[in-house]
Amino acid sequence: MFDKANNLSARNFMKSLGKFIIFLGQLFVRRETFATYVHRIVDESIKVGYNSVFIVVIVSAFMGAVTTVQTAYNLISPLIADPIIALVVRDMTLIELAPTITAIVYAGKVGSNIAGEIGTMKITEQVDALEVMGINATSYLVLPKIVASVIMFPLLVIMAGFVSIYGGYLTALFTGVISGTDYILGIQMDFNAFQVIFALIKAVVFGFLVAAISSYKGYFTSGGALEVGQSSTNAVTSSCIAILAGDYILAYMLAPFLTP
């Protein structure tokens, strides 16, 4: 009974994966002119990047503040120097929090928006209208979103890392859990530049996953307003799962490079 159910789930998963890969393959056939894509990528970059700055700043600032306070309360020991608190905040922020937590927030904001937009276009026959004009709707609509996301999300992660560490610094100053001098000293201590590269590799992968999965969910929407809502929810859920799975795989592959 359970074996049958597992086989069915596995088969459905493989079917969806195959459909997803074919969908991605469609992005590169019957392309439009380069100039068309440039305009679309600029528009999409504003939508996915610039419009996400506010939420990313808010989340990152609090992420840094909370990390600083909690790390400080967990490392109260005469054997641990205060700058270590800042070192922990920096490492957590760069390696994990800035790319991953920002990606989850990004999936919630941008992923649902992408799925909702494409899903609505699908059910109101706007996608069909593109196809009848002889335009590859998949390539025209989705490729610029993926490219924009892959370009803009790493920039958001860089900003998130900076704001988070700076948020931690302000928290240190205002709460006194650690002095400003110790914080500055701590974030410079034993710095490994690969942490930044690691964060950016994650950002590129997560940016791709969110845009591609959300577009896929939106593109295969059928029905009405209810189904568009469901597609948006599924896009966020699937993107979050993909982000966490991707995070684990990347950590497994790249963590060895972090050791000095």
């Binding site: 019957r30 068309t36 109101t124 026959e125 069909d128 196809e131 002889g134 335009i135 025209y140």
Partner: protein, 249 residues
Amino acid sequence: MIEVSNISKSFDGKQILYNISVEFEKNKTNMIIGASGTGKSVLLKCIVGLILPDEGKIEFNGRSFANASKELQTEVRREMGMLFQGGALFDSLTVEQNVMFPLNVLTKQSMDEKLDRVNFCLERVGLENANHKMPSEISGGMKKRVGIARAIVTKPNYLFCDEPNSGLDPQTSIKIDNLIKDITDEYEMTTVVVSHDMNSVLEIGDIVNFMHEGRLLWTGPSDDIGNSDVQELNEFVFAGRLMKMVKGK
């Protein structure tokens, strides 16, 4: 001319179209009529390539389309204009940008040329002052007219209309119908209109194709539609009270 030969289509084991063969003539308004759920829209979507038929052949002026390469399909599609049931205007673009959209993507005209053409088409459909309105700011009838303007902006050889007057009041419906008819004559297009509105059929239909339960049951000039001996067609045509009164007289 568009030639459809032996088209069949099923979804999840349910047969929707049964071996349909029909010709749509140039410079004529070819109607596909029938009750809801008879496969009219599926047939239209097969013709324009949005749905791949299970069997059969579709030819546009002798060029095979249904199973052609993507490149040939794109070439043929660029000679098509289509008016969708809900207009299918792009929500994020103004009326002017919607109509200009095919020109932006499919041609290399200068901005002045494109604007001239867009203004001409908007004027042609009676929307001179709607350039900067968003689709959400205009009525259903205006959306249909913008849809027609967008469909004809590239001077297509084939025009397809899916329920062009659904959801419109009778007066606006007649305006849209007449616009389709005039444009067909003006551009010498092959026009295919899917409808279940008998007013439309009588107003603009040159050739009428009647579908029932996925089968093409009758084809003929619209003037002969009341004289058919096909029972299903008679039931469809004279279902409304007005048509019954006409028949009585």
